[in-house]
């Protein structure tokens, strides 16, 4: 099974972490004050910052894979999305129309210049962009931070459907207790770089 397992992890800014498991198909919500190390933890798991440790996805050990392949399977979605092309479309191999419409995004948005879009539109597009790579696990850093209630629910529903269809573990950072109540199977908190 594709459990996401952090056996141990060390990086600057965090106390050494031992034992963090997100079972396949389940959601572990992480909360804590800002600056407590949530982003540091997620970036380290995705191997975006220097870190030492043993992390695996099912039986697949992170250090046995080239880093880009690991990151394609275990995608980190940051709170603020960045775009490198002028228009939306070239940022993903495909944009499933069904996902776009479920997030209330019209198909013509793909040919718009990114800088004309609102923060909320960009955040929802970034979610489709990440899902279109077919990740086997997701590290979500405040995925609904800039969204209104309605769109928050839409993103949650899309993520959960994808999760259940592909048995995907979600490590989900959320400030909102109500959201954690809706999506979490487990909750952990982090404070001052210490996971508890």
């Amino acid at each position: 099974m594709n459990d996401l397992v952090v056996e141990r992890l060390e990086r600057p800014g965090l106390a050494p972490i031992q034992g963090l498991t997100v079972p396949a198909g389940q959601t572990l919500c992480l909360h804590g004050p800002s600056g407590s190390g949530k982003t540091l933890l997620l970036r380290a798991i995705a191997d975006l910052d220097p870190n030492e440790g043993a992390v695996r996805l099912g039986t697949l050990r992170r250090d046995d894979l080239p880093a880009p392949e690991w990151r394609r399977r275990v995608i980190y979605v940051p709170p603020e999305s960045h775009w490198w092309e002028e228009q939306v479309r070239p940022h993903a191999p495909q944009w499933p129309p069904d996902w776009l419409s479920r997030l209330d995004l019209g198909p013509d948005i793909l040919d718009q210049p990114v800088r004309r879009l609102s923060t909320g539109e960009r955040q929802r597009l970034a979610m489709v962009r990440a899902l279109s790579r077919r990740p086997a696990a997701l590290l979500l850093d405040e995925p609904t931070a800039n969204l209104d209630d309605e769109n928050t629910r839409r993103v949650e529903a899309l993520l959960q459907d994808y999760q259940h269809a592909h048995d995907v573990p979600l490590l989900w950072v959320s400030h909102d207790p109500a959201q954690r109540g809706r999506v979490a199977n487990q909750n952990r908190s982090i404070d001052g770089g210490q996971l508890s």
Partner: protein, 265 residues
Amino acid sequence: MNGSVIPLGPYELSLAASLLLLVGILSWRLQMGVERRLLVAAVRAAIQLSLLGLVLAQLFSTLSPWLITLVASFMLAVAGYEVWSRQSRRLRGWWGYGTGALSMLLSSVTIAILTVNVILQPQPWYHPQYLIPLLGMLLGNTMTGIAVAMDTLGRETWNRQGEVEARLMLGDPAATAIGDIRRAALRAGLIPILNSMTTAGVVSLPGMMTGQILAGGDPMQAARYQMMILFLIAAGTALGSTSAVLIMSRRLFDPRERLRLDHLH
């Protein structure tokens, strides 16, 4: 018009220098604030060129390979420093200096040695009358291209780190994530030589050709030498910028292909 060089003495030179005096007075009157730098630059040029004249005279008379190597290494070392100093975001430690210097060694020095061996074939091949001016021209020009390319790469990566990391997060390899910036850096490095090839002989009379014509050389021969030098410079700049951009962009990542801006400063 053969070999008839009108000799320049101290009197003739001081006439040319007096023009700089005028510029200095102008700068002082208009408060441009460059008179000091003008003085320093002019004195530097005078001392450096006189020394070069002395050194070349010595080289021509002894033909010592060691002395030639020493002079060439000195030129390369200074060019390496120039490239280093022209970057706003450079690699930390020896990488910052080494990347530019190595790229110039690979491009300019190799091409200069190749040229005297294959194209010009003087006796001996390292005859300083050919090797040193050729190397000087190549270094001077590839230096600009390499510096521009490295500066662009460092600055753009710094400014667009969010974009580069966004691609890494989605699983793109480092080479893809920085591909656009790499191409922009190479293009920027090649633009000066492309411009000077485009306008050569139409707008600008290139320095080498001017020199040969002033020295009484045959204009057609001078034009051929100039063409050769332009081609060599273009090849050297392309080669040097490519190697500098490849080495530097590799160093912007670590073996796990993480973007490491802490390698810049």
